[in-house]
Symmetry: C2
Subunit: 463 residues, 2 copies
């Protein structure tokens, strides 16, 4: 692993070269490297925590000076109870996942003795840009090597000393394995980002891990594909037929279980028929949200209803129509909008979907209804990575989906969408094996053969 | 379908709106639209050929004035025997392919009553930029609608009148179907390209169909993902053990069956042990190539060998080492380079792979050998969309792979690689169906439930 004295270009070249070697290593060699990384980080715990303590000291001064936030400093702290152990366990969890490389998912007999196979392989060189959390380096290094990719890592400046310490340890660990140590390249200076983002012939994919601003900045400064999401503006659409108790349970979870998460709820769309004092399902939902301290930014119709029904509630506010339905609050704030019931349930659904497709961020959106037809319309018509029926948007998560780990959540429309597991760090190649066949053998006309195009069973590993 | 008076932004907005409607149409509605398009184009043949004749007249004058090439004019001609019928048949072939939308390829039981499904869906809005061939409009319109995508089509200016005529007919045909006619947007002015390439929030994927220069220009002017390839620099590595007759057959096919194709051979790497006067396999290959009029741009070693062995051959030239191994000749020219045999076959293989990974375009590369171990090293280590063993690079083609149709050939490292069928115009969404489950139900600790993460059988259509 190279340290910060490497230029961006040299780092990228070294990563590319290493990626060629990594691509042909067997599963066991990549897994062994993760074992070695785990062991080395276990042994070097004191040394790394000492480096982290230096970062923490500088951060403390910066907090006092007001230049960084206390929450950033908290994220920096690798000494926090359980954090180091979690980092170490994460490496072993990734190691023990199924190998995403070398999987054949399509096999065709083109002609006798001529087969076509589609086999998964690493993408090549990843550029991972992340903010303060120093444990991310171990996580990302594990994911990259497990999937056979080289990675250039650019960490936040606040954790420079921790990064350098961790990277020295990982570098030394890789030296003892078949994985080239140059597979991991660490760059610490902020100046490196823009030149790296311009190296589109050397770098195949950018994975930003951090704030929306970071992702947005990166997306607008590179032609390299970026895997991630800038925004997580999730919405739920409450239909009048859905039981109030279940609606309350789901919406409370979606809004309050972790408001800063990208899969938390930001907008609630309520059918106007939900706004009934005694029999409607919205009032119990709103009461529970207000009780939990959620501020409701309501359109005129909802506000009028709530101020009449709950005159003493202080959390009912008027929504700014030009802003609040396009805002990811990441906080105990929820925008609430009425959907006119219209001529039919289908018409109301169309209005709700139009709002979501226009104002949402195509991350995860929810419908709450007992009507399967309406639900299916929503699941098909909402253009988001996750479309949920009668459950919380907070379930949009790689661990919860059962991927074992998560590279990130993508709102891209190509390659990988939604929570991305190791599979998102792979692509495929087409392998054709013959024994002298040529294109001019096939086609129509005298002496030409037809293609067989017979589907063959698929399986792991190359035949 | 809008004609050329639409602004790029309005075209993109209309396409996006239509894409929402298209996404929820059943297979039958999309297929019916293709039937209607086919019928309308059959009926309007005379009208369209008349418009095409006007384009041809202008083109004829332009050829005389030297401003366009005769081959471009030839591509423009829709009246050429069989071309119109091929265009019509192409629509029905696409219609009759399996629907790429709505396929569930992963299903997990997260908990009792809580399922996760990954289901294929359209990408959304495609921008298709193509050059003269007017029949491409029908082909691309079929592919887009079959896969549930809206498309903005930007054709070459030489075929404007043909495009307008075809698009009027398609537009009228779509008016009679459930597919919104605004799903296809036609723009004819060259000025439209740059503004369209900037509309990354409205357009999800750019598919350029045309010359390398066109693709390169587009890739460097947009942040929207581009599906395609700028270059097709394919190489073959000839090992000394491969029979001369088979090698000749494969290399002749790869170089001479269609030299202008992107999957044609441009570089031949020969192990130095192939360069033996009586027993080596290279001399028969070279003789056959020269006999077919192929110019061989040889490195010093190969040139020395060939001038001694074939003193009267006029096609043996010295390669310009700085250029010829990085050139896609698209012509009867082949660069030939010696690979030192080195200490072992593995060492020579490594040298050959290093050359290909550095100088090739990651399109399709071939090894010719009877040694399975060496072949497998090549198939794993060459970083290309297609890696072929003992067959011709010309097989890299969607029709030949059995896809039924081809959207293009991609050398991208994400999403779709190699020949791309309809599947490349789709992505997926994650559908979660529950009955009130929330994130706080799960995890470790008192009263929490574990995730089941039980794999369920997959199948077509939503459950």
């Amino acid at each position: 692993m190279s340290l910060s004295d490497t230029t961006p270009l040299n780092a990228a070249i070294a990563a590319r070269q290493s990626s060629r070697q990594l691509a042909i290593l067997p599963t066991s060699a990549r897994n062994d490297a993760l074992t070695a990384m785990h062991y080395a980080l276990s042994v070097a715990k004191d040394e790394i925590l000492a480096a982290n303590a230096e970062d923490m000291q500088l951060a403390e001064a910066a907090v006092l000076a007001g230049s960084i936030s206390p929450s950033l400093m908290k994220r920096l702290d690798l000494g926090k109870k359980g954090k180091y152990a979690d980092m170490l366990n994460g490496i072993l969890s990734v190691r023990d996942l199924e190998d995403p490389v070398g999987k054949i998912d399509r096999r065709t007999l083109l002609d006798e003795g001529l087969t076509l196979e589609r086999i998964s392989c690493p993408i090549g060189v990843l550029l991972i840009i992340f903010e303060a959390r120093p444990e991310v380096i171990a996580n990302i290094a594990s994911l990259a090597i497990k999937s056979g990719n080289a990675a250039i890592l650019k960490g936040g400046k606040e954790s420079t000393k921790s990064f350098i310490a961790i990277s020295r340890v990982l570098s030394a660990a890789l030296e003892t394995t078949l994985v080239p140590s140059a597979s991991l390249q660490l760059l610490t200076t902020r100046d490196a980002i823009i030149p790296l983002l311009g190296l589109d012939t050397h770098i195949d994919l950018v994975v930003p891990r951090g704030s929306n601003d970071l992702v947005r900045h990166i997306k607008s400064h590179t032609q390299i594909p970026v895997l991630g999401h800038a925004d997580g503006l999730c919405s739920a659409y409450l239909r009048p037929d859905y039981p109030a108790a279940l609606a309350t349970r789901i919406i409370l979870d979606a809004k309050t279980s972790y408001p800063a998460a990208c899969n938390s709820l930001e907008t609630l769309l309520v059918d106007e028929a939900c706004l009934l004092r005694d029999t409607g399902n919205f009032l119990p939902v709103a009461s529970a949200l207000l009780e939990r301290g959620v501020e409701l930014r309501c359109d005129a119709h909802v506000r009028e209803f709530l101020t009449a029904a709950l005159p003493s509630a202080t959390g009912v506010k008027a929504a700014d129509e030009n802003r609040d339905f396009d805002t990811e609050f990441l906080d105990l704030t929820l925008a609430v909008k009425t959907i006119p019931s219209g001529a039919s349930a289908g018409a109301a659904l169309a209005t709700a979907m139009e709002h979501i497709n226009k104002h949402g961020s195509h991350h995860t959106d929810v419908i709450l209804t007992l009507d399967e037809g309406i639900a299916n319309g929503f699941l098909a018509g909402v253009d988001s990575a996750g479309v949920f029926w009668n459950t919380s948007s907070r379930l949009a998560d790689g661990q919860r989906y059962g991927f074992g780990t998560e590279v990130g959540i993508s709102t891209n429309k190509i390659h990988a969408r939604g929570p991305v597991g190791l599979e998102g760090l792979t692509i495929y190649k087409w392998v054709v094996k013959g024994n002298g066949q040529v294109s001019e053998d096939y086609g129509e006309g005298e002496g030409k053969k037809p293609w067989l195009h017979r589907t063959l069973p698929v399986g792991e590993g190359s035949s």
